[in-house]
């Protein structure tokens, strides 16, 4: 039997039994709608969680934090803390690692204030900051108001009294000469020279996470203007904040008398910036650490962000990093990812149960059809149809129904997703990382849904098809 002939017979059968077949296809369509909707939801959650909030192909490598390590540090001094340049080089050599970003935390307290011109009120916050090598974000930042790099080589360093004494773009900065601040507890303040010199603002980066946090939690609570990347770019001049090094809102600082102000200029939003803090070019952080806590802390990295070639490589990379004697900081991504996986599996199971029940309904419908078409099956056999022909007529019929149910299910899912999106976007209040859509219908989801629809319908119709094929033609014709 040719495929054209088979299709003709099947097409005529479907047309004739359209009502009963569509009723049984509705079950499959509903199951497929749930199936694809859940998959699209999980996919979008995964996109947001793993792509924006916690990149799943990235880990943060830190020194081993065992008690033994701490003990060694206390005995041998600060040098045992953090990661050295050699450590960074060793991590860079691990197979599967494509990008290594050494980070250095600001190891002393500081506060930041400013932003009145932009948001309507002065923001004052305890500063959490770190430093990264500027070349890591060079390609990412488009036309920044100030290059994200160590600008001290370009500034005039002219001795000044006021900002107006400085060239355009520079400000008059307080500086100290002398030993590091933490070694000056009992030292005579007179041994330290305080002077002012012209300097360029320190370029700083924000993270999308921080911006999102500010917009959804901080700004509404304080009545501040919400910010976005476009607004930040437009308002670059107003984005100068003052940072008071050595100060804290938390309590008195030992180096309080050596506090000094530096001005910082936001130059952009970057994924490489720390989540809840500000990121500077690493040279500034290194020098400030030396200035406030001594030489040794300036020579060590607090952590290294490692990016793997792909999500699939990350577990191997983690294993190799651990084998090389380093530790991985908080695997939130792993935990969130497995939570999403579990949620996805539960939702998929629910939809699979629905499709299975619909499959049984298909079995029932096709058994009825076999009964209804007994004589016809007998006739087919009499005019030369083989058992396989009869079976294939029913299976192809089921396949078509499955495909139609699959398409219907996907349409249903898509329409439902639009309804859900509209409801969730208008009714649910803004929260960090709230996406524009909660569903991502990837091509593989569409293909899998259609495949499942066809497979479940064909499997459902298999027993009736076999029964039809085995009908005794003599009895069937009676």
């Amino acid at each position: 039997m040719t495929l054209v002939g088979l299709s003709r017979v099947v097409g005529q059968n479907i047309w004739r039994n359209a009502t009963s077949l569509s009723i049984s296809a509705v079950g499959i369509a509903a199951g497929i709608a749930l199936f694809s909707l859940f998959l699209a939801l999980v996919e979008q959650v995964r996109n947001v969680v793993e792509g924006d909030i916690v990149p799943i192909d990235e880990v943060e490598v830190v020194p081993l934090s065992s008690d033994l390590q701490r003990m060694a540090s206390s005995i041998f001094g600060e040098d045992a803390f953090g990661l050295s340049d050699d450590d960074v080089a060793a991590i860079r050599r691990i197979p599967g690692v494509v990008d290594v970003l050494p980070r250095m935390n600001l190891n002393f307290s500081a506060v930041s204030f400013g932003g009145k011109a932009l948001v309507g009120s002065e923001i004052r916050v305890e500063l959490i900051a770190d430093g990264i090598p500027p070349e890591q974000v060079r390609d990412e930042l488009k036309d920044p108001p100030l290059p994200f790099e160590d600008l001290r080589g370009r500034q005039s360093n002219r001795i000044c009294r006021y900002d107006t004494d400085c060239p355009r773009g520079e400000y008059c900065e307080v500086r100290y000469d002398g030993p590091p601040a933490n070694q000056l507890v009992d030292a005579d303040p007179l041994t330290v020279r305080r002077f002012r010199a012209c300097a360029l603002p320190v370029p700083a980066l924000l993270s999308r996470y921080l911006l999102e946090f500010y917009n959804t939690v901080f700004a509404p609570g304080h009545g501040y203007v919400q910010l976005n990347e476009g607004l930040l770019r437009a308002a670059e001049k107003e984005l100068q904040f003052t940072t008071r090094l050595g100060d804290s809102f938390m309590g008195p600082e030992a180096v309080g008398w050596r506090q000094r102000n530096v001005r910082m200029q936001f130059t952009g939003v970057s994924e490489k910036s720390m989540d809840l803090g500000v990121t500077y070019p690493i040279e500034y952080v290194r020098d400030w650490n030396v200035e406030y806590t001594g030489l040794k802390s300036g020579a060590r990295y607090s952590s290294v962000s490692v990016r793997a070639a792909s999500k699939e490589d990350i577990s191997d990379v983690i294993r190799l990093i651990r084998e090389a004697g380093f530790d991985i900081k908080s695997r939130i991504a792993e935990q969130v990812s497995s939570m999403v996986e579990v949620l996805g599996i539960i939702l998929l199971l629910i939809s699979l149960i629905v499709i299975t029940i619909a499959g049984f309904n298909i079995t029932h419908t096709f058994l009825m059809l076999v009964l209804e078409r007994r004589r016809e099956i007998g006739l087919f056999r009499a005019v030369g149809a083989t058992r396989a022909n009869i079976r294939n007529v029913f299976l192809l019929e089921a396949g078509f129904i499955g495909l139609l149910a699959g398409v219907l299910g996907l349409l249903l899912a898509y329409v439902s997703s639009l309804v859900f999106d509209t409801m969730l976007i208008t009714l649910v209040p803004q929260f960090p990382y709230k996406p524009d859509t909660f569903f991502d219908f990837q091509p593989w989801i569409v293909a899998t849904a259609l495949g499942f629809a066809v497979v479940f319908t064909v499997v459902g119709a298999f027993v009736p098809a076999l029964r039809a094929a085995r009908l005794d033609p003599v009895r069937a014709l009676q």
Binding site: M1, V4, R375, V383, G384, T386, V474
Partner: protein
């Protein structure tokens, strides 16, 4: 080589402990191009014999060969191929599919034979013309008369040019006049196309029309040949012709 060759054919129905013999050691040969009728009272095993000849029922003892092939030994695929190429079925209740047009009904065996649709369409149109219902080809069977339905069924049986037409009570659902027309058509097809026609009927008038009559009686077959000069084409006239004297012998 005979088209049909039956030797010591025995058919018994078994239902639990109930054993019903229908045919006992029956034997006959039918050559290509013959026109035979199988007559007998109800329950004499006419349809059973026809089902055996058509390979729809393959549980028997003895030997039954169609075109030289023993039916019992064939696979499902082989028997389907044999039915498709060699045998055309015509039923009392026509078995036309109501959801198809007359032409599509005629084309049906073509689909299972794996032949192109265009050829099927062309042949179906020609055959419908040939059997006298050319103008009904686009009509569904619901809207045509019993006689026309049977003509469509005959066209369907002929579409793959079979050597053998097996007709099970083809006039059973028709009035006398229409029945006579259908039988005349069989005679015509037998004469013009050379197709072997085997008509199962309980209508005794058939013995006047068919040159050869296989009379089923008491599980046996009585093979009777009519004197060619006494054979009439028209079943309507058959009742006025005196019964033929047996020219053959009982098998």
């Amino acid at each position: 080589m005979a088209l049909i060759e039956i030797t010591k054919l025995t058919k018994t129905y078994r239902l639990g402990s109930l054993v019903t013999p229908v045919l006992e050691e029956v034997g006959f040969r039918i050559e290509e191009g013959e026109f035979c009728s199988i007559v007998g009272p109800s329950g004499s095993g006419k349809t059973t014999l026809l089902n055996l000849l058509g390979g729809l029922d393959r549980e028997y003892e003895g030997s039954l060969q169609i075109a030289g092939q023993e039916m019992r030994g064939l696979s499902d695929r082989q028997i389907s191929l044999l039915r498709s190429r060699t045998i055309g079925f015509i039923f009392q209740s026509f078995h036309l599919l109501e959801h198809l047009t007359c032409q599509e009904n005629v084309m049906l065996p073509f689909f299972f034979a794996g032949k192109p649709t265009e050829e099927a369409r062309r042949r179906a149109a020609t055959l419908l013309e040939r059997v006298g219902v050319g103008e009904k080809r686009g009509v569904r069977p619901t809207y045509i008369s019993g006689g026309q339905k049977q003509r469509v069924a005959i066209a369907r049986a002929l579409i793959l040019s079979p050597k053998l037409l097996l007709c099970d009570e083809p006039t059973g659902n028709l009035d006398r006049e229409t029945g006579a027309q259908i039988v005349a058509l069989f005679r015509e097809l037998n004469r013009d196309l050379g197709v072997t026609v085997l008509v199962v009927t309980h209508d005794e008038r058939m013995s006047r029309v068919a040159p050869r009559v296989l009379r089923l009686w008491d599980r046996k077959v009585e093979d009777t040949r009519t004197d060619p000069s006494r054979v009439v084409d028209d079943l309507a006239r058959a009742s006025s012709v005196p019964p033929a004297a047996g020219a053959g012998g009982a098998a």
